[in-house]
């Protein structure tokens, strides 16, 4: 019977182990490459397959509709490798715009484990085929910044059409009310097929107010027009107080929280608040620990107020928020409530009853189990 049981155990044992001897990792670089189409052009790309697990075979192949134009010099190797991908473009390609294919590097899983895991990574190669006639792509980049500062404005224009074009852009800056605050004009340039150029200027934000703005680029190119927009923010070195603790319990130490917001586009270090609570001749003051705030961050500053001697009622609250040599002032009302003695009595009473019951039970148990004295 025992042998049958053992046999049954073995027969019914199922090992479900998804196990790999060691971590599976694989990288490929560059992961993204763009190539401009020219009839019958030949391009050689260098791609590195990196961080392959030692001893794990890697296979490389091209994938996608345009993989037929790619030749890879190394298709199987161990421990990573640098490979050359030769792309021979045809005389023409019918689909204008970006045409993607991939170079795939794939681990081969080990053969001697129950269930293995493996990774594969792909590098994307984009062949940009010009559109017939006039066609551009454009990128507008305006980072957020601060008032009274200089912000770099950059417009990139790429000619993805078959015709040579003259490009004449204008960039205009609008505030959130739609008013134009700045207009940037540039000298026109000529771009042949696949050529690109940048239009750069600094935006002087002196006199600007904190808030949201829109940069609008209107690009005229040989009778055609393209418009792109981008929003950005201008900050001001000012930290606002958004909210604060409004109710405190008398008779104990309370947490006092102040929610603040950094309106600056940079980090502000060492932000702290001095808080004062006053009623009549009584004043209670404390300072919060300082905190560093990231750009545009909202954060809660926490201090502690000793309300043991504070009577119930409304107190005038003054907050002086200190940061970077500046100060934000805010005043309000904080209400101090009666201490919750009733709750404390209840808790104390319950504890006393439980302790009494335990002592009683213990005495009863001991008395019951006490052996009677033997009579001599």
């Amino acid at each position: 019977m025992k042998k049958k049981s053992i046999f049954a155990l073995i027969a019914m044992a199922i090992s479900l182990i998804m196990l790999v001897n060691s971590a599976s990792a694989l990288g490929i670089t560059p992961a993204i490459t763009e190539v401009d189409f020219e009839p019958n052009a030949v391009h050689t790309l260098i791609i590195d397959v990196i961080n392959a697990k030692e001893g794990r075979k890697v296979s490389v192949y091209a994938e996608g509709e345009f993989a037929q134009y790619a030749t890879i010099d190394k298709t199987d190797f161990y421990n990573g490798a640098r490979i050359n991908v030769i792309i021979k473009l045809p005389a023409e390609m019918k689909n204008p715009g970006p045409n993607n294919f991939y170079i795939v590097a794939a681990e081969e899983p080990p053969q001697n484990v129950f269930i293995s895991s493996a990774v594969a990574v792909k590098a994307r190669i984009t062949v940009n085929v010009p559109y017939p006639g006039k066609y551009i792509d454009a990128n507008l980049n305006v980072p957020s910044g601060n008032v009274d500062d200089k912000i770099p404005v950059e417009l990139k224009v790429i000619n993805h059409g078959t015709e040579t074009i003259s490009v004449n852009p204008i960039i205009e800056i609008y505030d959130r009310s739609g008013n134009s605050r700045e207009k940037m004009e540039f000298n026109p340039i000529t771009l042949k097929t696949n050529e690109f150029d940048y239009f750069r200027r600094y935006l002087d934000t002196k006199g600007f107010k904190q808030g949201d703005y829109v940069a609008a680029a209107v690009i005229d190119y040989s009778g055609e027009r393209k418009t792109i927009n981008q929003t950005f923010k201008l900050g001001n070195l000012k930290i606002d107080i958004l909210n604060f603790t409004k109710i405190l319990e008398g008779g104990r130490i309370n947490k006092f929280n102040i929610m603040v917001k950094n309106n600056w586009n940079n980090e502000v270090k060492g932000v702290y608040a001095d808080v004062s609570l006053s009623k009549g001749n009584y004043t209670n003051s404390f300072r919060t620990p300082s905190a560093d705030m990231k750009a545009w961050e909202e954060k809660e500053l926490t201090g502690f107020v000793d309300a043991k001697e504070m009577t119930a009622g409304e107190y005038k609250m003054d907050i002086n928020l200190n940061y970077a040599g500046q100060m934000t002032y805010y005043s309000g009302i904080v209400t101090v409530t009666e201490p919750k003695l009733f709750d404390k009595f209840i808790i104390s009473g319950v504890i006393a009853i439980v302790v009494a019951l335990l002592l009683g039970a213990g005495y009863f148990f001991l008395k019951k189990n006490k052996k009677p004295r033997q009579k001599r």
Partner: protein, 197 residues
């Protein structure tokens, strides 16, 4: 002519020569091109830097080990999860699943998972199940397989698998229903994660 007279004559000639030289210099400066240390034209230079894109993924937790076990006596099947739950079986609990991390510097616009087997070919028997789901505690991706779905040969786990350290990890959990009449012995499968930029 005394010696003093000679010196006087030489001095006079020296003064005349100096005045003449000064005059020639002035004339040359007034008529010829002027050269100074002040840059009167501006020119621009360019500085460029290329940062290569790297796509790299790694199974940082590549082991799900249930060990050996069997369906409890009298039960039609046992269910095993990678969240630490075993129902009607005595396998070792597994609580972490597989964990995949994007260690490169670009997002994977597509992450695909594939397996070589299904429930029928991995476990066999009556009504087996072999399911997976994908989750991301740090919001590295919003998965299309957010609830247990049958494992298959190719499924898009998520679009936009992030690379920032604060959001670059996802977890693959499994649900296995092992019937009483399942296949026995060592069973195997391969889970492959494929990332594309």
């Amino acid at each position: 002519m005394t010696e003093n007279d000679s010196v006087l004559v030489i001095a006079v000639f020296a003064v005349i020569a100096s005045l003449a030289a000064a005059g020639f210099s002035y004339y040359a400066m007034s008529e010829g091109p002027k050269v100074s240390g002040f840059l009167s034209n501006t020119d621009t230079g360019t500085a460029s830097l290329t940062v290569e894109s790297v796509l790299e993924i790694e199974f940082t937790d590549d082991t799900v080990a249930f060990g050996s076990g069997r369906v409890a006596t009298g039960q039609a099947s046992a269910t095993l999860y990678t969240n630490g739950t075993i129902v009607n079986g005595n396998w070792t609990a597994e609580s972490t699943g597989l964990v995949l991390e994007n260690k490169g510097n670009v997002n994977a616009s597509t992450l695909t998972l594939s397996a070589t087997k299904t429930a029928a070919t991995l476990l066999g028997g009556t009504s087996p199940q072999y399911n997976w789901k994908v989750s991301s505690a740090d919001s590295a991706c919003t998965s299309a397989i957010s609830s247990y779905t049958a494992v298959n040969s190719s499924a898009v786990a998520c679009n936009q698998f992030g690379y920032l350290d604060s959001a670059d990890t996802l977890r693959i959990d499994f649900e296995l229903v092992v019937p009483m009449d399942s296949l026995k012995g060592a069973l195997s499968d391969t889970i492959t994660a494929t990332a594309a930029p």
